[in-house]
Amino acid sequence: MKKTWIIIQREYLTRVRKKSFIIMTILGPLLMAGLWIIPIYISTLGQGKKVVQVLDESGLFIDKFVSTENIRFVPVLLKLEEAKQAFLLSNDDALLYIPRTELSLPVTALLFSRSQPGIDLKAVIRDIMRRQAEALKLRAKGMDPEVMNSVKTRIILNSIKLADDGTEEKTSVEVSMALGLVGGFFIYFLIFLFGSQVMRGVIEEKANRIIEVIITSVKPFQLMAGKIIGVGLVGLTQFLIWVVFTGVLILGFQATQSDSIKNAPKHTPITTQKVMPPQQMQLVAEAEVEADKTLLEEAMEGIRQVNFPLVLSAFGFFFLGGYLLYAALFAAIGSAVESETDTQQFMLPVTVPLILSFILATYVINNPNSSLAIWFSIIPLTSPVVMMVRIPFGVPWWHLALSMFLLIVGFVFTTWLAARIYRTGILMYGKKVTWAELIRWFKYKV
């Protein structure tokens, strides 16, 4: 046991001191926080007012281009060629040209700009033109656009999870989906990352023959266990640093940016009071308050409702369990080959369940309680990824308990299996190993 501990220390310290580990540890949270922060940051950016010149030859749209907080529309009354030249001399952002058409409504316009116009700007212009064109068409058909507006309805669907004890909990499917997918992906990624580190470590020891020296000091199982645990602790360390560091970054960002988030522009609600009876109006008003929330705020609220202690501790468990399960198999593969290029034939069967579980993730996310999802979240080879995807949607406790129990049984089994191959494999040289050979090693009496 003491020797295993010495091995764990070496495996851990040599890896933690590596430059690549330090870089990954710093870069990881920056990337993760970046995924979070950048969209928010961008939405607060680009608030600078844009100036768009509008040359409306048809004269049908110009009234509708009303300047907003962000975009100022300036009508121009020149010929197109002159307007273009004048635009080039000005500092304005874009020149919108709506040509006159003889018979139909103009539905094509040109937007000139020095640089690529933003998607937002194009969307705003298209929206204004579409509404006006629709209104004109309605009027042409003898319909009052006001009637049309009053019929327009926005449906707001809030999902509420009703627990057995009757408590209600607002859920955000989008947040659960995102969280499940991210959690599943990270488990998949980390198992691959650290599992292959174990494999490389075994190959290194075998290739440079230090194995012969070590194996006269410790039992093969001690060496294998020490390596798997050591690398696993590296993974756990990295994970914990990431969680803490990402948390700090996001909290720090929220603290500095909270004002701009609150002040994010809101849509002006379309009033529909006229046709509604009073009680309904109350409800609708509430709903519209909901609707008024920006997407960002909605997401934030959804995230606040996530049971983070459960998700994070489940992540820790399923990462560790899945890692131990696969790392033992990776160690066995490493022991059977002499260089990394020989690993292909053995890698495939081991990685298939892992890859399958990752492919399943996209299905599970849409059907988190289907029997397929339930089964694959209980079977040890796929459970780490699939269960992680399911957890944010809420999982019956016995699914979770059974899955965890089987995962423990699973990694004990793969470790036992791998150890039998490993102890023979690490001392085999100069032979191209086949599956039949592996099975023979498994049966060896040593």
């Binding site: 020797k3 010495i6 091995i7 070496r10 040599t14 290194e204 020891e205 440079n208 023959r209 230090i210 194995i211 012969e212 020296v213 070590i214 194996i215 006269t216 000091s217 410790v218 001392l427 023979r440 009496k445 040593v446």
Partner: protein
């Protein structure tokens, strides 16, 4: 029990050990004894089964049949800490620092951190690699790596030292350094098993040998006794001046038959076979009056000759 052992007691005793790999016999009823406090040469052509035997003694693998005794007890896990093994294929972690690595391997052998550090510092100094303590192994020359490997093999003061080709990769100076260390360890009571193809070092270092060929021991015993067994009463005389034909025919008459003669570096070298009823002293006496004698010795086959002859099952070719 550990005290007062006579030098002839065996530390390792291999009894009827067989080992098979996929239908190929690596060892076939091999028996040998390694007396404590001696240097034992384990010889044999490539693929004869030496490495398998070494692995069995190291408990890396188990024999199919037979048993190995360590100090009179069946070999068990507790003996492993008393063995130091230098494998033929040297291996160290390339990216690890020399000192750190030596410390790691010493601790795996069961030494405490402080004890390992103290001993390693003194070994590093003795082998003149102390300046390399904080350098990565990959930055060390091959010779340095070999020294480092030697240090980690002996640092836990094993009673049994198994060295597989310990001199490969060493220049003559470092070879001498390691030979000196082997003899020093032997003088301190360490038993050494030396597996090598360098017959010169076998003659220099080994007390006993076992020659393995095709999974069997074909020759075993004390180096001097083995060589004496090949004695054919041949003696070489080196003289400054040439011997007269008159003298030679007179010697022939006294049953000192001249087999060959040659000249090398101003030495006149004569090989005589000493006939029945005669002795080397008489030969020396007979020549003494007529020539200045530079060297006189019995012509015995070298270990090299014995090795080749035994493996090829051919009579020894005595060089002229």
């Amino acid at each position: 029990m550990a005290k007062n052992k006579s030098p002839s007691m065996s530390l390792i005793s291999v009894k009827e050990v067989s080992k098979q790999y996929n239908g190929h016999k690596a060892l076939d009823k091999v028996s040998l004894t390694v007396p404590e406090g001696t240097v034992f040469g384990l010889l044999g052509p490539n693929g004869a089964g030496k490495t398998t035997l070494i692995r069995i003694i190291n408990r890396i693998t188990a024999p199919d049949e037979g048993i190995v005794f360590f100090d009179g007890q069946p070999l068990s896990a507790t003996h492993i800490s008393q063995i130091g093994y230098l494998p033929e294929e040297r291996g160290l972690y390339k990216k690890m620092k020399a000192g750190e690595q030596a410390l790691y391997l010493a601790r795996l052998k069961g030494l405490s951190h402080d004890e390992a550090l103290r001993r390693l510092k003194s070994w590093f100094t003795r082998l003149q690699i102390q300046d390399w303590w904080n350098r990565k192994v990959e930055e060390l020359s091959k010779g340095m790596q070999q020294k480092l490997q030697f240090v980690v093999t002996v640092v836990h003061k094993p009673r049994l030292l198994i060295l597989d080709e310990p001199f490969s990769g060493f220049d003559p100076i470092n070879t001498d350094l390691i030979k000196k260390e082997i003899l020093r360890l032997k003088a301190e009571g360490t038993t050494v098993v030396l597996s090598t193809h360098d017959m010169g070092s076998v003659e220099e270092l080994c007390d006993n040998i076992a020659l393995i060929n095709r999974a069997r021991v074909i020759l075993q015993g004390n180096v001097h006794e083995i060589k004496a067994g090949y004695s054919k009463n041949l003696f070489d005389v080196h003289t400054r001046n040439e011997l007269s034909t008159q003298l030679l025919s007179s010697l022939n008459a006294q049953s000192f038959e001249l087999l060959s003669s040659s000249t090398r570096n101003g030495h006149h070298i004569y090989t005589f076979e000493i006939g029945y009823g005669q002795s080397p002293n008489h030969l020396l006496q007979a020549i003494l009056l007529y020539a200045e004698i530079l060297e006189f010795y019995e012509k015995l086959p070298s270990m090299h000759d014995i090795f080749v002859s035994a493996v090829k099952q051919q009579p020894i070719n005595y060089p002229a």
